[in-house]
């Protein structure tokens, strides 16, 4: 299927399915606009239906756009890239399946980048529901794509511990106190990756991927601010704005939402072109996002039109 990229106008689409569905959305919006000019409110279920169509269409008939990494994303990428091979990086998967569509692309991109670079990666999660997800993504990305990397040598999965920020409060001075063993019951002392790692102080980079609590904020409060280790983060779009005050002093960079993931992926593919075939879910998701955005913006405009029309009518009375 031909993918059209940013710069070519929408009209140039030849695919019939795309044209029909876009026309459908357009006609529907027009109908609602006419209704709102007569000051009639639209039932919320119709709004729901529109969002569903706007998201479903680009999934069935893909539309993609190009992305360029912004500075705040690029800084994280450059840090991972500039660390010497063999550095120890901690990747915290602090999210659950619900949040996964948004942050899993980042988690995959970080994992691939670190392993490509030859870093040693420590995986962990503060979310009970994150452990099952971590297992899946290790199976898929690490063991699936890098079969020559060894568990306990090149990477290790510490799994989940209950206690939220308490876990951080302890590993900041001692990993073994909180995690006597890894997720499979292997004592940390018998893994070579932990030979030189006692606490978070011995890490070279911490990347927290999350979007709720405990998440990036707790990492900054309990670990980042206490030890002199650079911290990067990938978060769901919803928490990104409130993390801006931590950038660039307390966080070296930040990936916000799918757009952040798409930007990181575009940078990753630029440096490691062979990764493109492994999938760029972030970039692919930008199509549905864009269309849904337009529909939502249309709804804001229509909502305001109907508001002003009804207000004028009230004044006339």
């Amino acid at each position: 299927m031909p993918e059209f990229t940013f710069g070519i106008p929408l009209v140039a689409l030849s695919d019939i399915g795309r044209v029909i569905s876009l026309m459908l959305i357009g006609a529907g919006l027009l109908w609602i606009l006419v209704r709102s000019l007569r000051a009639k409110e639209v039932d919320r279920r119709i709004v729901f239906l529109f969002i569903f169509i706007a998201v479903a269409t680009p999934i069935l008939f893909p539309i993609t756009f190009q992305e360029r990494a912004t500075l705040i994303v690029k800084k994280v990428f450059d840090k991972v890239e500039s660390l010497p091979a063999g550095s120890t990086v901690l990747l915290a998967f602090d999210f659950d399946p619900a949040m996964a569509p948004e942050v899993q692309p980042m988690a995959d991109a970080f994992s691939r980048h670190c392993l490509e670079k030859g870093h040693k990666v420590i995986f962990m999660t503060l979310w009970a529901t994150g452990q099952a997800l971590l297992t899946q993504s290790l199976e898929r990305v690490v063991r699936g794509e890098y079969p020559d990397k060894l568990d306990g040598v090149d990477y290790i999965n510490l799994g989940f511990k209950a206690g939220n920020e308490n876990v951080l409060n302890i590993i900041v001075t001692d990993f073994r106190m909180m995690f006597p063993t890894d997720v499979n019951g292997v004592p940390l002392d018998s893994t070579s990756i932990f030979d030189d790692v006692k606490s978070c102080k011995d890490l070279d980079l911490i990347i927290s991927i999350g979007g709720g609590k405990p998440g990036v904020k707790e990492w900054v409060l309990y670990v980042g601010d206490r030890v002199n280790v650079p911290m990067g983060a990938g978060v769901a779009a919803v928490v990104a704005p409130q993390l801006y005050p931590y950038y660039p002093k307390q966080l070296l960079g930040l990936l916000g939402g799918v757009k952040g993931a798409a930007e990181y992926e575009s940078e990753l593919v630029k440096w490691y072109p062979h990764l493109e075939e492994r999938g760029t879910p972030g970039l692919r998701m930008m199509g549905p996002q864009t269309l849904a955005h337009i529909v939502i913006m249309a709804f804001i405009v229509i909502g305001n039109i109907s508001f002003f029309v009804s207000r004028r009518r009230e004044r006339k009375r």
Partner: protein, 225 residues
Amino acid sequence: MKRQVPLIITFLIGMIMIFSFFIPPLEGLEQTCSLFFDVIAVFAFFLGGGNLMRIHVNKLRRRKKDWGFSIVTLGGFIIMLAAGLLKIGNPGGIAASPTTEGALLQEIFTYVFLPLQSTMYALLAFFVASASYRAFRAKNREATILLIAAFVILLGRTPFGMMLTGWIPESFSVLQVPNMAIWIMNSPNLAGQRAIMIGIGLGVISMSLRLILGIERTYLGDDSA
């Protein structure tokens, strides 16, 4: 006894926690307390489970409205407990991680838990749209400001922002929507977030102090209870 002891506990532990931050030899104590909380939190899960059982068994017994669905809840609870707590259907037996690939728990997680949770979360997409339509109206000055800021960011986060305003020359490039969006994020947004953060920080500090000093004690209830 019912009330004084808890207040003393809160005061002592709170003070230890504050001072262990400044006194290195106490650091270990702080961590032990943290570890204690983790253990208590697990007991709280059990307390929750116990209450859930009680509520739904009661519902069943009294044939309250929708009691049939209580069977669904209890069934789900018991099956998950068998798979999770007793590790039934876990190929690795007792020593294996509860989320081992192929274990019953992992299967339930992937095919039942995950769709439920993610779909519930996905409802947000719909509600964001309906809230945009319903609530984002220029009713007064504050609402208008909010509306404009939201609109600029929305536009700036899509490639269309660049399409619409990409023609603006470099010497006026702040007027390009994506740059405007970045500027809003970096300046007014940061200022607002920081003001909120400082306020909340102080609120938390003073609330913590009130709790430690026993001025705020509503959560403990009444003496005669």
